[in-house]
Symmetry: C2
Subunit: 144 residues, 2 copies
């Protein structure tokens, strides 16, 4: 039975480790991609979830509706997503990725995975095995 103290210690080491890696993963994104993190993130939600109303998308992104309205304005202007009136509710609007949007997002995802893969290649097989074991634990923490 571990003490809370020892767990706090673990937290103090795990937190910065995860945080720093995430920071690098984020920076390995754009490079003159002309898309900001918010834009990429919102598009990522649409890729995973399919079409959503503006308000739903805002909720996913933990942002207020007006912020999402403007973000969608930009992305729509660049042809990366499309607004369509909701068939069931004439107040609401449904947004979804265009083909161009999905392709851009997919290219981006691949680039980031490759950035990480290059680093994973340099590890030992044992270290990679450790990571494979850790992934479900990391997911579990985030889902709590």
């Amino acid at each position: 039975m571990p003490t809370y103290e020892s767990i706090l210690l673990l937290a103090g080491e795990l937190r910065p480790a995860v945080f720093r890696l995430a920071r690098h993963l984020r920076q390995a994104r754009a490079d003159a991609e002309e898309l900001t993190p918010s834009q990429l993130s919102a598009m990522g939600v649409l890729l995973r979830e399919g079409e959503l109303q503006i308000g739903e998308l805002a909720a996913y992104e933990q942002v207020r509706a007006p912020s999402m309205t403007r973000l969608v304005d930009h992305l729509e202007g660049r042809g990366l997503l499309r607004r369509t009136p909701s068939p069931t509710d004439k107040r609401a609007i449904v947004v979804g990725l265009t083909d161009q949007g999905s392709e851009l997002l997919e290219a981006n995802r691949q680039r980031r995975n490759e950035w990480l893969a290059v680093r994973l290649e340099k590890l030992t097989e044992a270290e990679r095995a450790t990571l494979r074991t850790a992934i479900p634990v990391l997911r579990k923490i985030a889902e709590t």
Copy 2:
């Protein structure tokens, strides 16, 4: 000898797992703390590194000098850090945390560690052991 394909697969799983956890860790911060992520991050650098010149701090934060000048303006106005002229270079300025700044930062750090610790407590001891093993690997990737 693993294939690059299998490593790409691992990357595709590890990346979102780390990213999501980091996102939660970030959100477990402020809560009416009246400090933004940029401000917290810059103060964190000063806590780790001690006093730095504006330009050095900007470099750590991967931000341009003018952005850091303004951020330091704000934090100085709130009494969280202090500007002092560099003794060796009359062009330069050295910034460092005030006692109030250090205390606020320490309180913040503790709160975030506790957020994570609560979740770590709910894991099995084997899962925590996995994380302990994974920490140095995560660090290694980030440092590459």
